[in-house]
Amino acid sequence: MPVTEAPTFGAAPARPAHAMRHIVASRDFREGFVEMLPVAISLLPFGVVCGVGAAAAGAGWLGSLGLSALVFSGSAQIVATQLLVANAPLAVIVLTAAILGLRLLMYSAAMAPLVRPLSRRWQRAIAFALSDQLFAAAVTRFARDDDRLGAARHFAGCGACLWITWQAACMAGFLAGNVIPAAWSLDFAVPLCFLALVAPLFRDAPAVLAAVAAGIAVLALAHLPMKLDLIAAGLIGIAMGTAADLARDRWMRR
């Protein structure tokens, strides 16, 4: 078998607009888009809740759309709107979101070897859409396929599907949030959405310890100024989970 050098796929095209049409028209893109639909639909309620949050923070429609379009992360959007309502300083909002966004480093590191043969342009595009759900969908395709450019087009299809439905859901929530009466306690939907994300993690003992430590800490530190309690409790929880994980490894190795 002849040994070939790892080629670079999708080198910068001469006519980007034409190339874009080419990607969207490809079979891989269409397959990705359709494959992602059930996941995107399951996330609609979370998007609606994020939109309600933006409305509660007093954002206009443009602010709400800007938040969902550029940040493109439900938990970060919720953090931003909640801390805006609590009148936290800008630096605290950014720092809290930065700690929450640390998990994106994990996806970035896992994606990096898969996208290495692709062009810079593709890498930057893929990074924009990288999220919890897309990572899961993309990894199987990238692992299965030797055709990296096909996998990249597939990822673009998944990303487009999720991004478009996410904008629609957030906008629907924003519009609904301005008319739904407060007696419905719709703000309670926010912790419920997060519970749906966090409860399935409790199959792992260090994760349970991390959560319990963070939960106790956030109540004990509730009186910290400038909403610094979230940052402090989050760091305590992460430290607890990491220590428990290390201890478990030591125990297993004995």
Binding site: G60, L67, C193, A196, A199, V208
Partner: protein, 108 residues
Amino acid sequence: MDATLKLAAVIVALGALNYLSRLSFIAFFAQRSMPPLLARALKYVPAAMLTALIVPMIVDVNPDGADFASPKVPAAALAGIVAFGTRSVLATLGAGMGALWLLQWARA
């Protein structure tokens, strides 16, 4: 700071922050592998941060202490069990909101 300006600043800052985090190991640290301790710690970011966010939304903290008697506490407990079993956002929302409305109606 003006509220609209602050929202714009938050959108730009968080958008840039999230994009740079997503790009980190794909572009900036492409030649490096992640330090093992960091990789270990990152696994616990969602459990710790999401719980820190959830708890104050369910348990109100007054100057006298935490209020565990709110109907939101049992409703959230039920929703947590449903979430653990189903992993479904819609089922979790249905169980939690349904339980809260029922408890509020029973107390009224």
